[in-house]
């Protein structure tokens, strides 16, 4: 059975991660792999966080840095000042034998060291290629992912993403790993998921859009608006709170739908998109309510 991370209870674009999040990501190609890691690392550098990068041990450091620079400014300066650290997982337990406890203690040391140095928060990107590279037991790894690491995240000083190669882990392992993380990530920039709202309430048709609504995702976006137009319920809810980008075309298309549909329409979104809707004339549509921050 193909693996579907989008069935996860909380799926978000990588830029929506918050301190304290522990997120699962999977990739099937190099672009998807590095877009997640690159964007996550660059955002951490921008925000002044300590960034720990456990890349695939088989990839040379110079190549890793090149990939990071495809998603933001040069990383030489943050590397030089120690804000960005390239690590391999075996450093967490060496010179002793591999164990989950030693791995966890090593990560904990890295976090404490960073906080001691004055960094407000720490983020790790862990490419799970380390599991095969260092001969770790996958059952132990899954236990660590789902149950053995929660204490790292409780004080919101630490964020972690674990990226799994879909060609190297079985569907069963991927499913259990995804389920073990409180959060899952979209595959990369230029993704739009259209999901039904689980409990929209009686008489309400609801859709939730996750990802980006722009030129590259026109088709699923227009399809979502078509589904709304074809629904029969007297009230419509469009949840855009996990939409990280909304271009002018899509914002205008939502307003046109609301203006022409005639039913009560509620848009839930954050302040950025609310501002766009107001600028484009949301207040002129009496049956529309924009619930923004």
């Amino acid at each position: 059975m193909p693996f579907h991370a989008e069935e996860h209870t909380r799926i978000v674009p990588v830029e929506r991660l918050r301190p304290g999040d522990h997120a699962f990501a999977s990739y099937a190609d190099e672009e998807s792999r590095w877009s997640t890691i690159g964007s996550f690392a660059q955002t951490g550098i921008t925000r002044g966080e300590r960034v720990l990068l456990f890349a695939d041990p088989a990839v040379p450091a110079a190549t890793v840095l090149e990939h990071l620079e495809a998603y933001g400014p040069p990383v030489g300066p943050p590397l030089k000042r120690g804000q960005l650290k390239l690590l391999t997982m075996d450093r967490m337990w060496r010179p002793r034998e591999i164990s989950v406890e030693r791995q966890m203690a090593g990560l904990r040391r890295e976090v404490e060291e960073a906080l001691h140095e004055g960094y407000p928060t720490v983020r790790s990107a862990i490419d799970m290629a380390w599991v095969a590279a260092f001969g770790a037991d996958v059952e132990q790894v899954l236990w660590r992912e789902s149950k053995g690491c929660h204490y790292l995240f409780t004080d919101a000083h630490y964020t972690e993403i674990c990226t799994y190669d879909e060609t190297r882990f079985s569907g069963d392992v991927l499913d259990r790993a995804a389920a073990g993380h409180p959060t899952a990530l979209l595959k990369g920039p230029g993704t739009l998921l259209v999901l039904p709202i689980a409990e929209p309430g009686s008489g309400t048709y609801g859709l939730r859009l996750v990802g980006e609504a722009d030129l590259s995702t026109r088709e699923p976006f227009n399809d979502a608006l078509r589904r709304i137009a074809e629904s029969q319920e007297p009230r419509v809810v469009l949840d855009l709170t996990e939409l990280s980008f909304l271009d002018v075309y899509c914002a205008r298309a939502v307003l046109r739908m609301a203006a022409e549909d005639g039913r009560r329409v509620v848009i839930r979104c954050d302040g950025i998109h609310a501002h766009t809707f107001l600028l484009l004339g949301a207040l002129d549509i009496p049956q529309l309510t924009v619930e923004g921050e």
Partner: protein, 155 residues
Amino acid sequence: MGPTTQGSPAGGPQRPPGPRVHLAADHRLETDFTSADLPRLRVVLGEYAARLGLAGSRRNALLLSANELADNAIRHAGGGGLLKLYRRGALVCCCVSDSGPGFDVSVIPERPPQLSSPTGWGLWTVRQLTDGLEVGPGSGPRPLGAVVTCCVRVV
């Protein structure tokens, strides 16, 4: 005036105590793009814009505006173009040049278009969101193309 090293580059005005992020004054982005690059281009733009000093709603205004300029070049001017992002005094500027037929600033409506109007919205929105929008001719062989620059003030 160089990029600010005070305040939070990506969050609210109060930055937690910690090591200062040293922002290079010469962070400058110059990149070709086509429609396939648009999502990744926004990630890169967002990081550069933050390190050039834009935060919060001003960073979002620049991102949305830059996306509209690039989107225009992709749809109306040959499928892509060249994008530059740089600091000019207290402004962060995004300049998109293309090799399309070119256009004049007079095509940008003064008043908001009707919701049903298929054109005019992108550049009208850019004008509302930014602190400056300039349209000029390109310098290439025929067709000359257009050079569109929008700037957002660092506060």
